[in-house]
Structure formats: structure tokens, C-alpha cells
Symmetry: D2
Subunit: 349 residues, 4 copies
Amino acid sequence: MQFFSDNSALVHPKIMEAIAKANHVDAAYGADKWSAQLNEKFGEIFGAEIIVHPVSTGTAANCLALAAMTQPYQGILCHEEAHIVVDECGAPGFFTAGAQIIPIGGDGAKINPHMLTHIISAIRDDVHQVQPACLSITNASEYGMAYTPSEIRELADIIEKNNPANNGRRQGKIGLHVDGARFANVVAMGNYSAAELTHLSGVDALSFGCIKNGGMNAEALIFFNTDLAKASEYRRKRAGHLHSKGRFMAAQLLAMIEDDLWLENAHAANHAAQIIASACGDRLLYPVQVNEIFLRLTADEAQKLRNQGFDFYDWGVNGARLVTSWHHSPADVTPLANAISDLGEFQAS
Amino acid sequence: MQFFSDNSALVHPKIMEAIAKANHVDAAYGADKWSAQLNEKFGEIFGAEIIVHPVSTGTAANCLALAAMTQPYQGILCHEEAHIVVDECGAPGFFTAGAQIIPIGGDGAKINPHMLTHIISAIRDDVHQVQPACLSITNASEYGMAYTPSEIRELADIIEKNNPANNGRRQGKIGLHVDGARFANVVAMGNYSAAELTHLSGVDALSFGCIKNGGMNAEALIFFNTDLAKASEYRRKRAGHLHSKGRFMAAQLLAMIEDDLWLENAHAANHAAQIIASACGDRLLYPVQVNEIFLRLTADEAQKLRNQGFDFYDWGVNGARLVTSWHHSPADVTPLANAISDLGEFQAS
Amino acid sequence: MQFFSDNSALVHPKIMEAIAKANHVDAAYGADKWSAQLNEKFGEIFGAEIIVHPVSTGTAANCLALAAMTQPYQGILCHEEAHIVVDECGAPGFFTAGAQIIPIGGDGAKINPHMLTHIISAIRDDVHQVQPACLSITNASEYGMAYTPSEIRELADIIEKNNPANNGRRQGKIGLHVDGARFANVVAMGNYSAAELTHLSGVDALSFGCIKNGGMNAEALIFFNTDLAKASEYRRKRAGHLHSKGRFMAAQLLAMIEDDLWLENAHAANHAAQIIASACGDRLLYPVQVNEIFLRLTADEAQKLRNQGFDFYDWGVNGARLVTSWHHSPADVTPLANAISDLGEFQAS
Amino acid sequence: MQFFSDNSALVHPKIMEAIAKANHVDAAYGADKWSAQLNEKFGEIFGAEIIVHPVSTGTAANCLALAAMTQPYQGILCHEEAHIVVDECGAPGFFTAGAQIIPIGGDGAKINPHMLTHIISAIRDDVHQVQPACLSITNASEYGMAYTPSEIRELADIIEKNNPANNGRRQGKIGLHVDGARFANVVAMGNYSAAELTHLSGVDALSFGCIKNGGMNAEALIFFNTDLAKASEYRRKRAGHLHSKGRFMAAQLLAMIEDDLWLENAHAANHAAQIIASACGDRLLYPVQVNEIFLRLTADEAQKLRNQGFDFYDWGVNGARLVTSWHHSPADVTPLANAISDLGEFQAS
């Protein structure tokens, strides 16, 4: 059984079924009944009037959101270990036509509010310095750490209060984007409302993850600040992310939220992670909040686990990363938990 | 029955089946058995060692190919009515980071060799002028006209002979790209080999269309000049076109060429177009070679056809465009052919 | 005596003097008395509140203006033979991060209003087509033809009336830019006011030429639509066009307009051109309105002139281009005029 | 007397003289005797065959060099406080069309070799991570700290040994660029040869500063790796940095190196800085190696100095930055040194 990443997990049967159903109609470029329902159906989930743009990867969702907020001569505030910085081959620079990353530190790949305040307040509003146009956070973070609604609100307040534009030359507020590749896992974990994790806490746009949660090839770029959506339609087209048979993407997204499938899947993944985490004790490098486990593991111990048929990524020296997904049942992961317990106390080799 | 475009046609059952089968495996980013077979299986179709990159839209395939050949300060030779110029919202400028379109004329949206020679030979090799880096042709063209292998070879010879780089400063040959959104229809129509329409005639890269021919969301960017493929992997990733569950795209592409499904579908679409064309007589604006019919039609006549349940795009004043696809059977289109015949002689209103 | 181009002419003594004077002060990035006067002094010339950005080349002035009006996913309407299209190595694509050129035809490199109307009115406001964001005209044109105020107004009305944005999705008016590398020559020729050739006729931004008219390395990018100026300050900096010793550029620009030096120089260049034109008779390919002469000339005739010490560019077969500048006195050009007269009637060889 | 920056200092009389002389010739775009001598004359300074491109700002020189080494999908290794990161409004992202900054730490804004090794060796050669294409260092650094030839060689060895490309996919070596806005000050300070500070230590391109050292508007972009120069000619043109009257830039650059004026000016600036530094004692935040002094200074102390007619930039709380230039004579700065001495011991307020 492998725990490399949820990004390759099987597609949920209900999603496959929805895709099959969407094949009985002939309509191009979103002129279909599935695409037509996206704004309303997702609007119900978020309790707001929103605009939803389906795209086929998280990178596209993230960077179209950033491009909608950021001019080429501006900057993107984000964690120095954010996915957009370390795992997308420079996609933000591509979609924004050269906007500069302004990296912020913080534990567990979560932005430290003090560091954010320090950096943003030091930016002079003159033409020599890159002016920040947006803040992008990842919820859950690269290390599986979740932001609470109040933590998001705190960051939103910082960028509002310290916006260099308030001093003069640059117009407009600094936008707030959430990379929500594992947004469902956060909602499920904290029993939060989708609203309080987003627009109620100052979020302008969300990359709503579907693929890691049982989808095939559809993510939802959601604009709470609907003024940002218009230009984004052009950007999506010229980036090659407008599908002529978009009905298959829309159908996946609708199936994902129907009867709360997205939460059901997220709960399953989170639960599987907790079972494994419960066996890790002091081995845990970060508290397990959603579906990622980072643990101390020597090369020998890793080999032992692999010999028993469990596979995963090494994480530096004496470390490992395991990710669970919707299709990992308790029965699937219990043997792994037991195998980890059997390793006994961690002792760095 | 609608004839707006083949880009929205139903997905062929064999493709749906292949997608379903690809769901029984968990492997990310092309580390799956389907992706592993692409180069070899497509290489057999083209009789060459090639590299295949699956992407989810024709715009992505076209523009990644252009970006692989063109530096930001160079130019793209193509027909002034090419899809990349008039129908992709400036995507070439986005993927190449600003390369300039150098438009060429020609009937039926096919490049006129004399016009190409005239324009390219007038470009001085100095820093003031945009130096052409590639020529992109569309086969079949926007008006459903096909280039023969010898016509492609003629164009390839022109860009080779007149390459300003030969005079000095700029290095490398001018690349040749084929937008093959309807490549299958050309092969099927002319009973050509895939090889003679591409690398045997000097083609470096091909956008091999799958979606318009019964696929769901996969096109194949094929590099015959495999040196171009390396950098393109990075570009594909940062453009958000590398799918974590790429196995579903690879599976579609393999199913499309298995047992020549791609040609079977193309033959069906071409045949349906011929049935309609045979009823058009003098109404035809262009000879019908593949699956697009452009015909003279007054507003009244168009209304008559729509009243009988046939729908399509108007094409300027007194004109209409009809596109057939793999799922239009002779039984489907014969009524339309009869309806057109019943209109009698065309008389401009 | 050479007539290749006014772009290399000597710098006028008064400009050299102004540069020397600006060396007695130490102040960086426009915090000097010369830079401080630009908006006011140029505002007097144009009878309007304007913002002036000094830059060191016409390409920078033109493309910063275009970038201020055009998003990367939009288009630039301009003549197919405009300097920005054929002589700036794709600079518009660079400064706008990929905006597409939408070429328009017209005699003498002046935009034909009917062709502009035809092209712009055919653009659908959908995401597949590049939406025009600005129209750039060159006054005087590449062939030395001038637009009158009413001709400019006619074009301004066309882009206003046919703006696809009026139908919906895209916001804002289409901007109007004038490449005025030889703007002074037009004002001098037609005895127009600078105002009627620009903001009074709907112009948003002007590249005010100084270098071809006796300057050293300063052009003035003038914003009549001052809302465009703010973001342009950032673009100018990141393009490397903000000079720390900008006082030397500001001093040139002020000296150029002081006591109407700009018009004096332009009159001299225009007058020299008229003296030469008067000797060309039927040889003229275009009427000589400012300081460019295009004439029929066989290779033998060209050689004869060169043997007498006159040099210039050939213009295709049996053609030549001569450009006069501020430092060509009547005494300088009369011998050339005589030499051309001595050639007698033109007879194509 | 002001000590804000050397970037606004007066232009040296010999440079003004050279500019005046260059006005007696009419030749465009580098077809003049001054431009023709650049490669040879600068080649003598560096003891190598080089190619010199004059540009009008340091930002243009730096970013054209980076663009010559870096594809849009690659990365730029540099100090997190480098001028290209914090003071050029994102220019690297503009000139490279989106390349990502990969920030490195180190004291005094000099790259720490261990940190460089740590970061570069952690980059996997896969498409998800930005692959470094060049390393840019600033000599002297933003804090006036100089790299010795052996320190530069150490960094060159690190990027050579740890080049991810050596593992596979990416081709070519990682380029090494030096931002030498104050290169002359380093040569003068250490009595180094220009060669050992550049190509003999693995440097591919240098931004040779002239403006901060008594020039008006010319910097020299020098390619030691001459293969990089060809494409850069196109980039320079489309960036609006090719001057039609480039002879005035070339003349400045030649005058700057004639009879070692560049070193004479740098020695004067360095000497003035030493006089001031000698009065600062424990106040110094960094050792003064070239012409920048960073010292502890309370607000009251700063006011006292300003009351005596000395002006400079505050540097955070209780800090100040003073920069000397070629035209600061010992007689000019001695009063400042005395005034600082009179402040007595520093005591944080």
C-alpha cells in the first residue's frame, strides 16, 4: 500500500459516474447544464455570491488567482516553502508575467504574523521596491498544518493595515488568496464552515481542491471578490485552461459537493492519518491535523516498513512523509500503524 | 441535431472505457503504464522515435510547441487567420513571453508559398526586425483545407532557404509546427501516412488532435525534433498542464490510436461531411475536404433549416459553417442534406 | 553629406549647453529643478494638465505607453507597417508581456479608417478573440505622412463607437497613443497646435520625440490621461529606464521647448526636405509633408549621387529614402537638389 | 554637503569633454568610431576577448545579463538583499519573462558559501522545482563589502559542482554574473586586476559601473562568455536600450577607462570614505572597504550632523548610511569626520 501522495489517488466512483453521465450531451465551452449550476451550487456551500472557474490543475487555479490580483511589476507575499514557490516550476512568474515572490517565514509552512508584519511594513511605497499586490496562504499548509478562521483574519488585517498603497501611489487593497488543495480536509478537521475559512475572514479567491480528494482532473477556482473574475476568463483561455468539453469538469465538481462527498472523503483521509499518527508518538515532526504525517524514521526503519509493503517519500535524513487519501480505509492503514509501533522508540542512527 | 463544432462531440465509448480502466491504479505524474507507452505506441504510428507530451487542450499543445521553438524576442510565421492568431486569446504571446506574430496570407487559410517567400526574404537580419523562429501551419486549415505532404515540404524548403539566420546573427533553423486539431481527418481523407504529413516533410512538432475526434480532455504534443522536448517539460509544468493523474490522459491517447480508432472516427466525420456537401452544389464556399462545410445560405434559408432542427453557426452574411464529427452517422446527416437540397438554388437575398 | 536618418543627427548646441549646466547639481532620481518643471512647462505647450516621463529612447516611450493601456491578454491596434511592428524587435510584446498586434492597412503607413472600422467591428467580445485595448498611430507616419487633427478625431471616434467592451465583458475605453518621433515636424508643417493634434482629438498618451530633432538621449512620454501615469512609473523603473541622473534628460527636454527650439529645428528639417522634393518631380513616391523623401531612383542614378558625396538608404528596387534633419541648411541640400534635377526624367532600368 | 549616494554625483569633466567631442560626427546605432573601440579597449583592461554592450542604467545591464543566462522557467540565485531583489522593482522578472529569484543569505549582503551549497544541493532536477540558471553577486555588495577573487572562485566552484543539470535534464552550466555598480571601487581598494575579479574566477558577465563613478548615463554590460552576447543584442533593442546616438555612451565609457580615470575616481571615493570611517570607531556597522559607511547614529546625533550641513540617509533606527563619491575631496569630508568625532561615544537612545 502506498502513501506517496493523495494527488494520485483513485477517482471516487461517484465522480466516475458523473463523468459518464456528462457524455450524453453535446455542448461546448461551458454552455451545458453542469457548468451552468456551478456558481449557484458552490455559492450554497460558501453562503455567498461567487464565481467558479473550473480548471484542470491546482497550479492553474493558484496562478490564475494570483494573476487576477497582481500586475507584472508587483509582488506576491507567501510562505517561503509554499507550493507556489517550491513545487510549481515558477508558475506564478509565468502567469503574472514576472511578479516577484516576497517570501515570509513561519513554522509548519504557516505564515508567521509577526514576520509578515515586519516584512510588509518595511516596504517603502516607491518605485524601487516591489509593491505587494496579494498574499497567498496554503490551507492546509505543505506540512499539513491548518489555519483557523481567526488566524486567517489576523493575516487579512495585517495586509490591510500595512498596505503601502495606503500611503499613496499604489491603488487597491492587497488581495488574499488561499491555496486549498486540501481545503476539504481543513473544513472536515475543524468542523468549520467553508464561509468562515474564506470570505468571512477576508479571502478574495480560493483554489478549491478536488483532485487530491477523489476527483480526476478538475479544480475549482473560486472568486469571492467577483470583480476579479472577468479578466480571469481571458487569462484562463490564453493559458489553455478553458476546455471545450468543460462539462466533464463541471460534472466532477458538482458531484464532489453533492451530499457532501467532499467532506466524507476528507474525513476518511483525515481519519486514516490519525490512525497512523496515533502509532507515531514522539516520532511526529508536526502535529497531524489533516492527512499528512511527517515522522522521524531511520533508513533502516524505512526499509523495514517498505519490506512490509508500505511505501512513501523519505523526508530528508531520518525523516519520512506519508499522505493518506479518501480511499485509505482504517483496515488499510492499521497494519501500517502496527508496523510503526513495532519499530519502538526512535533513535537517530 | 447540431453541427456547431466537433470540439463538443460526445466522447467515444472506447475512450470512456479506457478512462474507467485507468482508475484501478494509483500512480502520479506519468509514472504509470499508460504514460510509459506513449512514445513507443505513437512512434509506431509515425514510424519514428518521438516524444509525446499529453496536454488537456489544443491551445496548450500549440503554444507549448511554439514556445519550444521561439525565444521571446523572435517571431512566429503563420497564416493571418490561423487558430493561434484569431481563436486563442493571444496564447502564443503568453506561452512565448511576447514573441510576435508575423502574419501570412493565402486562400482557404492555407499559407501561400509566394507570400511566405516574399515576407520572409524581406526580413533583414538586424536587431530592429523580429527574426522568425518558427512557422506554424494548420492541417486541416480553419476552412477545412488540407495541406498535402508536398505542399508542406515546399513550405519547409522556403523557411530553410530564406532563413535570415543563414546570413549571420541568429542561430538554428526555423522550426515547423503543425496544428493538427483535425490531423486525423487529413490522414483519413488523403490516405496519407502520418509520417509523410510530418517529419518526412520537415515538421518538428505536431499538435495531434484527440478531443475533436472523440476524446475527452487529452491532446498529444508530439516532438519529432526531440531536442525540443526537454525544456518543454518545464514549460508544461509551470503552465499548469502537467496532470498528477496524467494516466487518464495517456489512456485516452492510447485508446485513440489502438486499432486505428482515430482514423475510423475521422472517416466517419469526413463521410458525414461529404453527404452534406453533395447536397450543397454551388453553395459551397470552399471544397469540402475533411469535416467542415462552409456554404452560402440566406438568413431565411438558415431559419428554415433551424426550424427542421438543424443548428450551426452563421458565417458572416449569407453564409454558414457546419462541422460534422465522429458520431454523425449517415442516417443523422442525410435529412440535413435533403433539407439543403430542398432549398434549391442559392439566391443572395 | 548623409541623409540616412535624423536619428543620428548632431545634438543642437543649446541642448549641449543645457546638459553642461545640469552638471552643477547633485540630485538623484528626478529630485532636481529640471525634472520638477517638466509637467508644468510641457503642460503650457499642450494647454493641459499632463504628466511627463523622460525616457532615453523612442522604443521605451512607445512601449511604456502601450503597456500603460494594455493588459497582457489584450491587443494593440496599429498600422501593419508601424515602427512598433517592424522596427522595434517586438518591443510591444516585451513591455506588455505578450499583448498581440492587430495590424491595420492604409496608404503611406497611415491607418485607413474603413479598414480600422472593418477589423474592430468584427471582433466578438468573447474570450477566444484578442480584445483591443489601444490604438497606436504614428504622426508623422513611417512614410512621412501626417495625420490632421480631424483625421485623428475620426479614428478616436471609431474606437470609441466600436469598442467591444461596450457590449459587455471588457471594461474601459480603448486608449489612443501617438508615436510622435517626428511630432514636431507635423506641428511645424501644419502650423497646428500641439493640443489639437493630441488631447483635443482624443489622444491619451504621446511619445514626444526629441532625439531626432536635435536631442541627445531624451524623449518625453506624455500622459494626457494622467490616470495612466501612476503604474507607468513602476514599469519605467523595472525596465531600466529611470535614470539616477535624470536631470540631464529633463534639462534636454526643457531646452528643446524653450523659445520653441523644437519647432525651429523641425522647420529647418522640413524646409530642407522641401528643397530636395522640389527637384524630384514625378520621382516622388509619397508627397513630402515633413522631413522624409521617398523617390524613384535607379541603381545607376543612386550611384551617381553617391559619387557626388550624397548618401542615403536604398528603398527596395529603384527606390531611395532620404531624411533631412535640423542641421541640414538650405546650402547643404541645394547641391543635392541640383544633382537630382540633373538626373532628368526617371526611367525604370 | 550631501552623502546620499554616488548615483547622483557630478559627471567628471573628462566625461563631459568626451561627450562634447562625440557631437561632431553623425553616425547611428553604434556605427561610430567610439563604439567600434569598446571591445578592444575594454578587452585590454580585462586581458581577454570580450564583448561590450553599452546601456544607460545599471538595472538594464544587470537584467540583460540575467536574461542572457536564464530561461523564463529557470531561477536566479542571488543574495536575499541584492540590488536586483530589493531595489529594481522586479526588473529581473521583467527581463527574463518570469524567472524566479532563489534567495541566499549571508552577512554584509555577501553570499554565504555554505548557505549557497545547502540551497543549491537541495534542488532536485525535476520539473516541479525551479532549476537555477545563474548566480548573481554584487561586488561591492549593498553594504560596501567586497568579494576577493578567491571568494568568487569558491562560489563559482560551488555552482559548477552542484549544478542539478549535471544529474540530467537541464543543459549547460550555471552562469555567473557580477553586478559591478561599484566594481571600480573594489579594484581600487584591493589593488586587484580586473581579470582576477571576473573571468579568471569564473565570471561570465559583468555590469561594469560607470554612472556612480563619474559618468552621466552609460554602463557597460561586459560578456566574457561571448556566446551570451548575440541574443542579448536583440533583447537590448526590444528593451529600448539601444541608442541611435550610442556614440555618446561609448565616448563616456572610453573616457572612463582612458588613463585609468575609473580607478582614480574610485580611489578618491574610497579615500574619502576612509577619512570618515576613521572617525566612527565603534559606530561602524560594517567594515568600510569601499565608499559606503554604515554607522550607529541616534536621531539626535543625526540632527546635529544635519544642522552642520551634512545630509545622508537614515538606516533603520539609530543608524545611518553615508556614501562618498569621486568628487568628495579630503577637504570636503574632513569636517564631517570631525563632526562625527565630536559626537563622542555612541549610546543608544
